[in-house]
Amino acid sequence: MGRGTARPFFFCDDGRDPLSFKSMERTVEFASHRFEAHTGEVRLVLSAPDLPALFSQAASGLAELMAEDAQAIPLVDRMELEVEGRDLEALLVNWLDELIYRTEIEGRVYPRVEWMEVEEGHLRARVSGGPPKAFKTSVKAATFHGLAVRNAGGRFEAAVVLDV
């Protein structure tokens, strides 16, 4: 996978704090997301010990941006999603775009990733979510602007600008 690994990653939600989960093989460390200032848009900054955790943080951050109180949304809807991309950056943009599309047509946000599998150019995941109390920021799309998914000292990092 270039900067990642050809071995699939698995992320299983075992019901614990989503920021400190157990993978199939090892206990992984803290994953995070935060929002950085951008004059016109929003920059979502992600950091995680592996790719599934990075992509899960992207989903969680997106939901937080789009909905009031995203972490309190009743997880009443589940669905499996598949996304492709010619590299990690395209995979991340396409993953976010898929969630943005689903939110717009279903009226649901999906803050929780139950499991995820990331292989070269391909991502499969089961997400769960539900209707938020209120929508907050309208997100049009994820962009490639200045985007690089980096593996820095064993941690994956990315900053993606969202058009809002």
């Binding site: 200032a37 395209a90 309208s138 799309a141 490639f144």
Partner: protein, 487 residues
């Protein structure tokens, strides 16, 4: 940031005009030109918009300097307030040069009413408009949902179809919409099912972000002759300004084609400093498909503003008991103009594809494309200020063709991030302040209000003075809001 990037130092070269010569960076193909006062240039330097404009100057097939308008600010790929013209047919087209909200734009309606006649019913009027024009995220109005062949026809035939087949709006509106509300070359077959699904039931909806609908009055007139030509007769006259775009349909068209061009551009030997500038030759399969899909999405946006205008007329009729929904007493369309679009335009012997991202076309009095009543006067341009502040009506000048590729600014332009605005401004207090100034607001939480606070934007007076003094567009009138339906 580009590896060879130094901080660009634009040099003044004329009245409110600055340039960064193409020698500044080895991959620049043309100069970069910015229209700004000293004060606005200072604000522009604070974010990455100049670097982004320089990145745009590396696109293949550019026919003229890339331009930055005085409201320019950092975007993604292209700066917002950026203009780039590529040669047709051998230049490129870049979906990022138009943006996700294809044909985001503004329509101005001028009524025959005076402020005093509307103000007693203003609350009821705003409420009725808010009821009939959905705003915010996601799904739209199911009563006007288009899908299948019906949607395909709308995407290709645009506003004339709404008027002639569905009885929405008037025949008299058509000449006063850019491209008469139907851009030739639109092809629904190039718009994905996903885009159609995402936007098909969003016709007549404002959406979110900085979109809005305002009831305003004419506060000042700068040029009586031009104002009269545009149907703006006197101070105190009530107008309505509608600012929205192509909704989810347009967003998805851009998403689809950025992805498609990102995958193929290396096959055409194209390398860009920022992947969001992904592009393809205008005559390539991908270039032609995007242009046809972009025109279809633009037609959808013209239709969206047209349906909203229709509903505004009905609301005026219902609340004020007049004949505003018919031709006799109505709210006349002054003009409807895009500020996120690419158009094929002739400059001398050359046909150019002019990308305007957060910039408005500003044809001068001699342009053949103008509707007959505006020939000799210029194309109306509307510059909305930030929420609660005034907006301007301008008229394009012939000099703009040479100076700025017949382009001007599109708004006040953000100066502060949404997060910073929320930290600095208390939404509840802002709502009270707006009310004290006689401005009603519906459709926004206090947090959303704070994001769009006037201090988060550049000063629209400074922005408009630049284009006026540079000879791009002349000030015609200033409009002051009295009621805002926020997206």
């Amino acid at each position: 940031m580009h590896p060879e990037s130094r901080l660009p130092e634009p040099r003044p070269v004329g009245r409110k005009i600055w340039e960064i010569p193409k020698e500044f960076r080895p991959d620049m193909r043309v100069d970069a030109r910015v229209f700004a006062s000293d004060e606005l240039m200072e604000q522009i330097r604070r974010d990455r918009s100049l670097e982004q404009l320089i990145n745009v100057s590396t696109l293949p097939g550019l026919a003229a300097p890339v331009m930055g308008m005085p409201d320019m600010h950092e975007g993604y790929g292209f700066p917002v307030g950026g203009v780039a013209a590529t040669r047709y047919p051998d230049g490129v087209i870049s979906p990022g040069g138009i943006g996700f909200d294809i044909n985001c734009g503004v329509r101005l309606l001028a009524s025959s009413l005076r402020r005093e006649e509307v103000e007693p019913s203003l609350g009821a009027l705003l409420h009725e408009i808010s009821r009939s024009v959905p705003a915010g995220y996601g799904r739209g109005s199911r009563e006007l949902a288009f899908s299948g062949p019906k949607l395909d026809r709308l995407l290709e035939e645009g506003v004339p179809l709404l008027v002639r087949k569905y009885g929405i709006g008037w025949e008299e509106d058509l000449p006063f919409i850019e491209s008469e509300g139907a851009i030739p070359g639109a092809r629904a077959s190039e718009v994905s099912d996903r885009a159609k699904h995402r936007g098909g039931d969003q016709l007549g909806t404002l959406g979110g972000g900085n979109h809005f609908l305002e009831i305003q009055f004419v506060e000042d007139i700068y040029d009586r002759e031009l104002a009269k030509a545009f149907g703006i007769s006197d101070v105190g006259q009530v107008t309505v300004l509608i600012h929205t775009g192509s909704r989810g349909l347009g967003h998805q068209v851009c998403t689809d084609y950025v992805k498609r061009m990102d995958a193929v551009m290396h096959q055409y030997g194209i390398h860009v400093p920022d992947r969001q500038l992904a592009c393809a030759p205008l005559e390539s399969r991908e270039g032609k498909a995007y242009f046809a899909a972009m025109c279809a999405a633009a037609n959808f946006a013209f239709c969206n503003r047209h349906v909203i205008a229709h509903r505004v007329r009905l609301a005026f009729e219902y609340i004020l008991r007049g004949s505003y929904g018919d031709r006799a007493g109505g709210l006349r369309t002054v003009y409807d103009v895009a500020h996120n679009i690419a158009k094929l335009e002739r400059y001398g012997d050359e046909m150019l594809c002019v990308h305007r991202k957060g910039a408005t076309r500003a044809f001068g009095p001699s342009a053949e494309e103008l509707p007959e009543p505006y020939r000799g006067f210029g194309q109306p341009v509307f510059i909305p200020g930030s929420m609660g502040t005034h907006s301007y009506v301008l008229a394009g000048r012939d000099e703009a063709k040479e100076l700025s590729l017949a382009s001007t600014c599109h708004g006040a332009g953000r100066a502060m991030s949404r997060a910073a605005a929320k930290r600095r401004v208390h939404g509840g207090e802002l709502r009270r302040e707006l009310a004290e100034h006689g401005i009603l607001v519906e459709g926004a939480s206090n947090k959303e209000l704070a994001e769009e606070a006037p201090e988060a934007y550049k000063d629209v007076d400074l922005v408009v003075d630049v284009v006026h003094n540079a000879g791009i567009a002349s000030k015609v009138a200033r409009l002051r809001p009295i009621a805002v339906r926020k997206g």
